[in-house]
Amino acid sequence: MKKHIKTLNTRDLKKSAVKGGCGECQTSCQSACKTSCTVGNQTCEKFK
């Protein structure tokens, strides 16, 4: 427990490079936007 820093729970991108890339996830434009590109808001298919 740190006194000056609070770390939020996040997925470690380095670890995701080891076992990622299955490609089952949603394509970026299939949600609401259609005019921008947003991937950070998507959920990995393995976490659903």
Binding site: G23, Q26, C29, S36, V39
Partner: protein
């Protein structure tokens, strides 16, 4: 690389390449400036190195003013915690992905999503429509069931081992061709059984032709529904009139409210009311608030992408105000949540814990490779925004892809192919941005659309701040 910023009373530090997010006090926040300088010069440094650098800094008038407000013990503790995080791989993590990822051009891609232009016709005349009132610089036409089925066959045949396949019924206005939508969904369900696939259908509509007797089918079959509306009546009706000029707000709002209510009770409950903001409503947070107050809880309001000569186009001079508007919206989002009236705002959604793997984050939006658009007569384009530009005609659903050279170009369109993205903290959240926007503004899909980038970065900052605030709320700290 780290990105640190202050927002809504929070000091936030994003370790870009590990994805770690830290909320820090002022002492750590300021000490990180010195740590970043040390990190630039040396691969590794110790607590003592950092404390030594602080002492040196304090010998300058600026450094003394900045750091003398903190006590010696506070600085020592902060330095200890910073070096601890570095050792844990959660600060100043190097970007090692470019070398370890596969050769982008050689990678095998499969098609997993189609944007079906089920109708190149529309009964509205929205002024900002990139589809030119549905026609996409071409002719008015509805997709026949035959072409649609060929498109689904093409998708299945080119999807390899991918099980989840997405099909968006898009337009123009898809409900002008409702019977074909129904027929294609049923055909897709048959294909699921024979080919072990799972279709996820999406419908995007302007709402004018939406009828209650469609609700059951839509709710049973559509994984997501996008309902277009810009917000306040005067804002919506200014940009989303019928061809005769009369506004669409009064007609669509009651239908959307009924639909949203029915949707909530459904297993497939995802929907968005989705608007576009322009120079006419730089105060777009008011439109989001209006939609939330109407009772919608899934909201997306997004910046218009328009030619600079259009009077409603966003301009560089508008950016400072727009950034403030996102801050205002982020506070509104939190206030509504605290008040028990939560709504989701699409561009503030960020999945820190279960977000995509780094491959997904680096490889772009998938246009031209995984995601293709199909015209009513079966032509294939890299995405809906390229439809009508013959330079990007890839092939058709009968003969397949004939322009693999264009597909290869899109395969290589990732964040490392874009010089502007290399040092941008947002690159793992936007995946390099929209290729169509880059092309339309600069003639190259590996360029970037700067105005969009500036807004995107702000939205990510707000989204992460919201996560920090929600973590506080969960811990019972309602004061912040």
């Amino acid at each position: 690389m780290i990105h640190k910023y202050k927002n809504n009373g929070y000091n936030i530090v994003l370790d870009v390449c590990s994805g770690s997010v830290h909320v820090v006090d002022d002492c750590v926040y300021d000490l990180l400036d010195i740590a970043a300088e040390l990190h630039e010069k040396f691969d590794r440094f110790s607590v003592m190195d950092l404390l030594g650098a602080v002492s040196l800094k304090c010998q300058t008038p600026e450094g003394s003013a900045k750091y003398s407000v903190y006590g010696t013990q506070e600085i020592s503790e902060a330095a200890e915690e910073i070096t601890q995080l570095i050792a844990e791989g959660m600060l100043f993590t190097p970007d090692t992905y470019e070398d370890s990822l596969v050769d982008y051009k050689k990678r095998q891609t499969v098609v997993k999503a189609l944007c079906l232009h089920i109708s190149h016709d529309c009964n509205l005349a929205c002024k900002y429509c990139f589809a030119e009132e549905g026609e996409y610089h071409g002719r008015r036409e509805l997709m026949t069931p035959e072409v649609g089925k060929k498109a689904l066959d093409f998708l299945v045949a080119n999807s390899g081992n991918r099980r989840n396949l997405e099909v968006d019924f898009f337009g123009g206005e898809p409900l002008m061709n409702w019977d074909t939508v129904v027929e294609l969904v049923r055909y897709g369900r048959e294909l699921e059984k024979t080919h072990d696939k799972n279709f996820r259908f999406t419908l995007t509509t302007n709402g004018t032709l939406l009828k209650e007797d469609m609700f059951d089918f839509i709710n049973a079959e559509m994984d997501n529904v996008v309902l277009s509306i810009d917000g306040r009546k005067e804002i919506n009706d200014l940009m989303r009139p019928h061809r005769g000029g009369q506004g669409s707000y009064d007609e669509i709002v009651p239908k959307y409210l009924k639909f949203a209510e029915a949707r909530k009770k459904n297993e497939r409950d995802s929907y968005y009311v989705r608007g576009t903001y322009t120079r006419n409503n730089l105060d777009f947070a008011e439109d989001v608030k209006h939609l939330a107050d109407l009772g919608f809880d899934q909201i997306s309001v997004e910046p218009v992408v328009a030619s600079p000569e259009d009077d409603y186009a966003l301009r560089d001079e508008d950016i400072p105000g727009l950034l403030e508007e996102y801050d205002k919206l982020a506070k509104l989002y939190l206030d509504y949540r605290k008040a028990g009236k939560p709504f989701n705002f699409f561009h503030f959604m960020i999945d820190l814990e279960g977000g995509p793997c780094v491959y997904k984050r680096l490889s772009g939006c998938g246009s031209g490779t995984e995601y293709l658009a199909v015209t009513p007569w079966g032509d294939l384009y890299p995405c809906h925004q390229f439809v009508g530009n013959e330079d990007f005609l890839l092939g058709n659903v009968y003969d397949g892809i004939r322009r693999n050279d264009i597909v290869d170009e899109f395969k290589c369109c990732n964040v490392y192919a874009k010089p502007e993205c290399r040092d941008c903290f947002a690159r793992f959240y936007c995946s390099g941005g929209c290729a169509a926007n880059a092309y339309n503004f600069h003639g190259s899909i590996t360029d970037v659309y700067e105005l969009g980038c500036k807004l995107q970065r702000k939205r990510i900052e707000c989204a992460i701040m919201i996560k920090a605030a929600l973590a506080d709320i969960e811990e019972g700290d309602m004061e912040k």
